[in-house]
C-alpha cells in the first residue's frame, strides 16, 4: 500500500495542475469511459441473473417452478404468490431460529476478530523465537477441512459438556448443545484465515508510525487500540463480513455440535429440516434462502462505507 506521496517542493499536492490540462483530461476520460460502463454493466447483469432467478422462483407456485422457466413469471400476467414466504414464516419456531442464528453468529464474529487481531499484532510487530515457524503452521492450518476435525473435537466436547441450563438464553452452559460451544468452535475454525489476513494488513503499516509511538512511551495495548485497529478498519470490516457470512450460512458445525437440540437450531438447520427432501420442495427453499439472506446483506451495506471510502488512504499521511 502506498504511503509516500509525491508532493511539489512548495508543499502543495500535484493535483493542483493547470485548469486547461484537467479539462482536456476530463473530456478524454469521459469518451474513454463508455467501454468501462458497458463491461461493468454486463458483469453486473450476468452475476445477478441467478439471484434474480432465485428471487422470482421464491414467489412462484411449486407447479409453475417445475414446468416453466422463471422468466415466464415476469413476462406473462403475473402469476406470483407470497405463499412460499407464508409457509416458511408461519412454521413453528422460525422466529426462534432467526434469533438463534444471531446469537450464534454475532459473538463468533467479534471473538474471531479480537483473538486474531491480538495474534496478528504479535506476529507482525513483535520479535520472538519460533515466530516464522509458528506462522507457517498457521498457514498450513488454513487447508484443514472442517470435516476432518469433527469427530476428534466432538469426542473432546462430550467430555467437557457442562450439563446445566444457561440462564436467559437457554441450552447448556458449555459443550454439545450450547451456544458457548458454538462460539468457541466457530472462532477456532475462523482463526487461521483471520490471522493470515490481518497479519498481512498489519505488516504493511509503516514502521515509522510504530517506532515513534514506542519512543513516546506508548504501551503495546495503546498502540494496538489507537493505531493498529483504526488504521485496519477496511481489512477488519471485510473480515467481519466474511466471518459473519460463513457462520450465518454454516450447516455442518451446527448439525454436529448442537446435537439435534431443536431449541438452539439456527436458520440453516431449521430450513434443512423444513425441506425434508429438497428435491420436491424448491419453493420453500428459495423463499427461506431470501429470508436468511436479509440480515447478512444489511450488515454488508452497513459496513460497506468502511472499505468503499478508503479510511486507510486518508489516515496514514506522513
Amino acid at each position: 500500500m502506498a504511503r509516500r506521496h509525491p508532493s511539489t517542493p512548495d508543499g502543495s499536492t500535484v493535483a493542483a495542475a493547470p485548469p486547461l490540462t484537467l479539462a482536456l483530461g476530463t473530456a478524454r476520460r469521459l469518451a474513454g469511459r463508455l467501454p468501462l460502463h458497458l463491461s461493468l454493466m454486463a458483469l453486473m447483469v450476468l452475476w445477478s441473473i441467478p439471484t434474480i432467478a432465485l428471487l422470482v422462483s421464491s414467489f412462484r407456485d411449486p407447479m409453475a417452478i417445475a414446468s416453466s422457466g422463471w422468466w415466464n413469471a415476469i413476462r406473462e400476467p403475473f402469476d406470483l404468490t407470497a405463499n412460499n414466504y407464508q409457509t416458511v414464516l408461519e412454521k413453528q419456531g422460525m422466529a426462534r431460529a432467526f434469533f438463534n442464528s444471531v446469537i450464534i453468529t454475532v459473538p463468533s464474529t467479534v471473538l474471531v476478530i479480537l483473538v486474531a487481531a491480538w495474534a496478528a499484532y504479535a506476529f507482525a510487530w513483535m520479535k520472538f523465537p519460533t515466530r516464522n515457524l509458528l506462522f507457517l503452521l498457521m498457514v498450513a492450518l488454513l487447508v484443514v477441512p472442517v470435516q476432518m476435525t469433527l469427530i476428534p473435537v466432538l469426542r473432546l466436547y462430550s467430555d467437557v459438556t457442562i450439563n446445566a441450563e444457561l440462564p436467559i438464553l437457554g441450552g447448556r452452559i458449555f459443550g454439545t448443545g450450547s451456544y458457548m460451544g458454538m462460539w468457541v468452535a466457530h472462532t477456532a475454525y475462523g482463526l487461521p484465515f483471520a490471522i493470515y489476513l490481518l497479519r498481512n494488513f498489519f505488516g504493511s503499516l509503516p514502521r515509522d508510525l510504530f517506532e515513534s509511538a514506542y519512543l513516546d512511551g506508548a504501551s503495546d495495548l495503546r498502540v494496538f487500540f489507537r493505531i493498529v485497529l483504526p488504521l485496519s478498519m477496511p481489512a477488519i470490516s471485510a473480515l467481519a463480513i466474511f466471518q459473519f457470512l460463513w457462520v450465518w450460512n454454516d450447516l455442518l458445525v451446527a448439525l454436529i455440535f448442537l446435537g439435534g437440540e431443536p431449541d438452539l437450531a439456527p436458520m440453516t438447520v431449521k430450513v434443512t429440516n423444513l425441506v425434508s427432501s429438497f428435491g420436491t420442495n424448491y419453493q420453500v427453499l428459495t423463499a427461506a434462502a431470501f429470508i436468511s439472506m436479509a440480515l447478512p446483506l444489511v450488515i454488508f451495506f452497513a459496513l460497506q462505507r468502511y472499505f468503499v471510502q478508503g479510511i486507510l488512504a486518508g489516515s496514514v499521511k506522513g
Binding site: A15, T51, A53, M293
Partner: protein, 309 residues
Amino acid sequence: MVGRRWWTPWLWLAPALALLGVFLVYPVVDTVRRSFLDERSKSFVGLDNYRFIIDNPQPLVSDTHSALLNNIMWLTLFTGITVALGLILAVLTGRVRYEAAAKSSIFIPMAISFVAAAVIWRFMYEFNTDIGTVNAAVTSAGGESTDWLRDTGSPQTWLTERGPDTMPRPIQINNLALIFVGVWMWTGFAMVVLSAGLKGISTEVLEAARVDGANEWQIFRRIIVPILSPTIVVVATTLVIQGLKKFDLVWVMTGGRAKTDVVATLFYKEAFRVGDFGVGAALAVVLLLWVLPIMVISIRRFQFQEETR
C-alpha cells in the same frame, strides 16, 4: 519495543494458540496417525492407504485419480478466474458513481447459502430448455442443449495405464460447470478484499501519474498491480485453499457423482460412507501436503515484507 518482556508476545498469542491447538492441530495429528492404520484404526498397515490412492483399485466406487485431477482443475481455474475477475472489478467499480450498486450485485452470491446456491444452479443448468436458463440462452443463440452436470464420458483415467490412447479429453464439462458456480460465489470475496487494498493507494499517486500522461492501462499495470501485490497474494492464497478443500458446493450439487469428486468429498465418502477411516485419513493428509508450496511462498513474502518496511 524496548521494555517488552519475553513472555509478552506469548500473552498476545495465547488465546489463538489454545483454540487452534484443540480444534485444528490435535485433529490433524490424530488424522495423520490414523492414515497409517487400517479402516477401523486398530492395526498398523504402513503405507497401504497411500498406495490405495496411487493405485486407484476401485475407480467405480472411489476414483482417486479423477478426484486428484479435479482438485488440480479447481486449484488452477477457480483461483485464476476468480482473482482476475475480482481484480478487474475492484478497479472498475472504484471508478464509477454507482460503485455501491455494482459491488453489491457482485457480492450478493456470497450471502447465499450453499444449499440455496445449489438449488438455483441446478435450475440454471437444467437440460430442459423450458426451465434451464443456461440452456435456454444457448439454444436461443443457435447452440445445442447440454446436460451440464452429467458425466460426458470423457476419460479421466489418464493417470492409469489406459492413459495414452485416451489422453485428448481428460476434462469434463460438468467440472467446469461446477467451477463456474464457485467463481460466481467467490468473485465478491476477491473484489471486496482487493478493493480494501486499493483504497489504500493514495489518489494523489494516481492523479500524478495521469497528469504525467500515463494511460489507464499503464496505471493499472505499473502502479496498481505492484502496490496491490501483497493483497493479491493474500486473495490468491485464500482462493487456492478454498479450491483445494472445496467440499460443500460439489457435495450439494452432484454429490461427487459423474466424476465430479474432489479430494475433500472423497475423503468424506471414504471416512463416513464407506467407513474406511484409514483411506479417508490418507486423503486428508494428501490435502495437507498440497499446502507446502503455499507455505514456501508465504515465508518468502514475509521475509520480503520484513526487509522492506
